[in-house]
Symmetry: C2
Subunit: 348 residues, 2 copies
C-alpha cells in the first residue's frame, strides 16, 4: 500500500495507564495527541481503584484534564469487591474489572493469588455483561522453573478454566507476548479477546537486555513470539486489538542507578500511538488492518461502536519522535525516542 493519507474511524486504546496527580495532567493530554478518542483506563494507582466511587472520582479527574476523550473505567480485582459492588459499578457505567497476579507489575502487590474465591464476583460480572481484564502472568517461582519468560504460557490454563466456567463472561487477555497466548485465545470462544501492544510488535528479549527504556512487563520474548503477534494482526483476526499498555515512568525511574534499585517496568507510547502503530503494521505488511486493529475489533468486543466525527487522518512523512515530554516538574521519555516514524497525524 502506498497511500499518502489514511483515515481511521474513531481509534480506541483498550489498555492505558494515566497515573495520578500532576503526572496525570501531562499524560492524559497525550491520549488525544496520539490520535485516540477513547481510553480504557487501568486501575493500578496508589492506592488502587477498588470501588465504584473511586472509579467515578478518577474519571472526573481525567475529564477535567481533557474532556474530549471518552474514559472507560475499570476496578482493581481485590477481596473487597463484592457481587453487589459489581452491580453498582455496572449501573454507573464502569466497563470492567482488572486482575493482577500478585507482584508481577507496577503496583500489583495487592494482586490475586487464586481465582476460585472470586467466582461470585465473576458470576455477577457475567450477569451484568462486564469485562474481565487479565494480566496473564503467574508469579515467578524457581521451584517450578517459572520466571518472566514463561509466566504467560504458565498462566494460560487459568484463562481456559475461567472461560469454561464462565462461558458468557467477556474476558480480555491483556498485552499478549507469546505464540502460546495467541494460539490459546484463538482456540477459545467469541467471549475471549486479546490486546496487543505496539512495543511487543517491535521488541524481542535482546532489545530490553541492558536497555531499560525497552523493559516492560510482560517482557518481550523470542522472535517467534513476536512473529505470532504480527501474524494474528495480519490475518485480521477479529478478537485481537490494540491495548497500548502505555505505561509512563519518570526518566530517573527508568535508569538503573544502583545495584539495589531496579528500574521500573513500562514502555510509553501514548503521544505517538496511532502513527507508531501505522508504522509498525506497515513494516510487516498489515497496514490494511490498521482500522480493524486500532478501532473496529476492540469497539465491537466492548460494544462501543464508532460514532461519526471521530475520524483521524494520517499522512505519510518522516517525523522524528520527541526525546522527552515534559510539563512542570514531570517528564517522560517515549518509546523509540529520537527515531523516525513514517506517519503523522494531520487531523483528529
Amino acid at each position: 500500500m502506498s497511500a499518502s493519507t489514511l483515515t481511521i474511524a474513531a481509534p480506541a486504546d483498550f489498555h492505558v495507564h494515566l497515573r495520578q496527580g500532576t503526572f496525570s495532567e501531562l499524560l492524559t493530554k497525550h491520549v488525544k495527541l496520539g490520535g485516540f478518542g477513547l481510553a480504557y483506563v487501568m486501575p493500578n494507582l496508589q492506592p488502587p481503584i477498588l470501588n465504584t466511587e473511586e472509579a467515578l472520582l478518577y474519571k472526573s479527574q481525567l475529564q477535567a484534564i481533557d474532556p474530549t476523550v471518552e474514559y472507560m473505567m475499570t476496578l482493581y480485582l481485590s477481596p473487597e469487591l463484592t457481587p453487589d459492588e459489581i452491580r453498582k459499578a455496572s449501573a454507573a457505567g464502569i466497563a470492567g474489572v482488572k486482575s493482577y497476579p500478585r507482584g508481577v507489575t507496577t503496583n500489583s502487590e495487592g494482586g490475586i493469588e487464586s481465582y476460585e474465591a472470586y467466582y461470585p464476583v465473576f458470576a455477577a460480572m457475567q450477569e451484568e455483561d462486564m469485562v474481565l481484564n487479565l494480566h496473564g502472568e503467574v508469579p515467578s517461582c524457581s521451584e517450578t522453573n517459572t520466571c518472566v519468560l514463561n509466566a504467560e504460557p504458565t498462566f494460560l490454563p487459568h484463562l481456559r478454566k475461567l472461560h469454561a466456567t464462565f462461558p458468557k463472561l467477556r474476558i480480555v487477555l491483556e498485552h499478549a507476548t507469546t505464540r502460546a497466548a495467541v494460539e490459546c485465545v484463538k482456540s477459545l470462544g467469541d467471549t475471549v479477546a486479546c490486546t496487543i501492544t505496539p512495543h511487543h510488535l517491535a521488541l524481542i528479549v535482546d532489545d530490553w537486555a541492558g536497555q531499560a527504556f525497552n523493559f516492560c512487563k510482560p517482557v518481550a520474548k523470542y522472535p517467534d513470539d513476536r512473529q505470532a503477534l504480527r501474524d494474528v494482526i495480519k490475518e485480521g483476526h477479529p478478537r485481537f486489538f490494540l491495548g497500548s499498555d502505555s505505561a509512563p515512568h519518570p526518566p530517573n525511574k527508568k535508569s538503573t542507578a544502583t545495584p539495589s534499585q531496579a528500574c521500573a517496568a513500562g514502555v510509553y507510547t501514548s503521544p505517538i500511538l496511532l502513527p507508531l502503530v501505522a508504522h509498525l503494521l506497515e513494516s510487516f505488511g498489515a497496514l490494511d488492518k490498521l482500522e480493524a486493529f486500532v478501532s473496529t475489533n476492540g469497539r465491537a468486543f466492548y460494544k462501543k461502536p464508532a460514532r461519526p466525527g471521530l475520524e483521524v487522518t494520517l499522512r505519510r512523512t518522516k517525523k522524528k519522535i520527541d526525546e522527552v515530554w515534559a510539563q512542570g516538574q514531570d517528564s517522560v521519555v517515549p518509546f523509540w525516542a529520537g527515531k523516525e516514524l513514517d506517519w503523522e497525524i494531520i487531523s483528529a
Copy 2:
C-alpha cells in the same frame, strides 16, 4: 558443614577481564584481593590481543601492577592468526586462544563467523597442546528465532563438531549458562571442559530484567538452567571449574541513560571472588566442592598444578560487600554491592 575456617590450595580464576590503562591498575590488584594467585586473562581489549608480541606486552603491564599473580595469556582468534604464530605463541608460554562470535559481547566486533577457516590454526594448537576457549553463543537472528536466550544451546553443535574434528584439542566452553550446555560438555571427551561463573550460580533472567548491574552476556536464564550449573558442581564433576568472567565497566556505562544507549554487559566479582564462591556453594550444599571448583579441577585441565605456599584461608563471618571500588578517576561497582557474604579471607 559448619567449619569456621577453610583453607583452599591455590585458587585459580580461569576467565577474567583485566582491561587496560588506569582502569587496569585498579582491577588487576583485585585478583589477589579476591583470593586468587592465577588469572587466565581474556584478550578482548581495544584493539584486541592478536599475536604473541601483544600478549607478552600486556602480560608485562599486568606484572608491573601486581607481580605476585601468575598471568596466563590468550590470543584473540582472528584471520591474522596463523599456524606459525600459534607455534611462536606456544613457545612463549601463551596458554590459549579465545574465540568470540561476532558482536555478541564486549569488543567482539571482530569475532568469528565460521570455524572451518580456522582449522589449520586449530590443528597447530592441537599439536602444541594449546587450549581453545569458546564464547559459546551464536549471533541473534530473528529469521531463525535465535536470540540471547537460545544463543548458547544453538552454539553447541559447533562445539560437538570441533571436538569430533580435533579430539585431542583441549577446549573450554566458557561461562556456561544452560542445562543444555552442561549436558553437552558432560557427554564429550576428557579434552572438553567448561567454566562456570559465580553470578550464573546466583542469577536468573528475572534478576537482570530492569537491573543493569546483573546484566551480562551470556544472560542468566531459567531457574532450571541455574539448577543444572549448581548440580554439576555439587556432583563434583572434574571438567567443570571456576572462570569468574569478572567483567568490569565504569558505573556510568552500567546505567541506562538514554533510549539510544544500552548499558554494558558484565558483572564484576574479582575483589570478592573467593568469599562469594564459598557463600554460593554453601547456599546449595556444595561447600565441600569449593577446592575442586576453584582450584583442583581447573589446574588439572590446564596442567598448572598447585604449588605449596599459595593456600588461602577463609573465615566464617558476616561481611558487607563494598558499594564501589575506586582509584583516581576510575571506579567499578561489584556484584551484590551492599549485600552480606558469609565468608572473608583471613590469609592469602
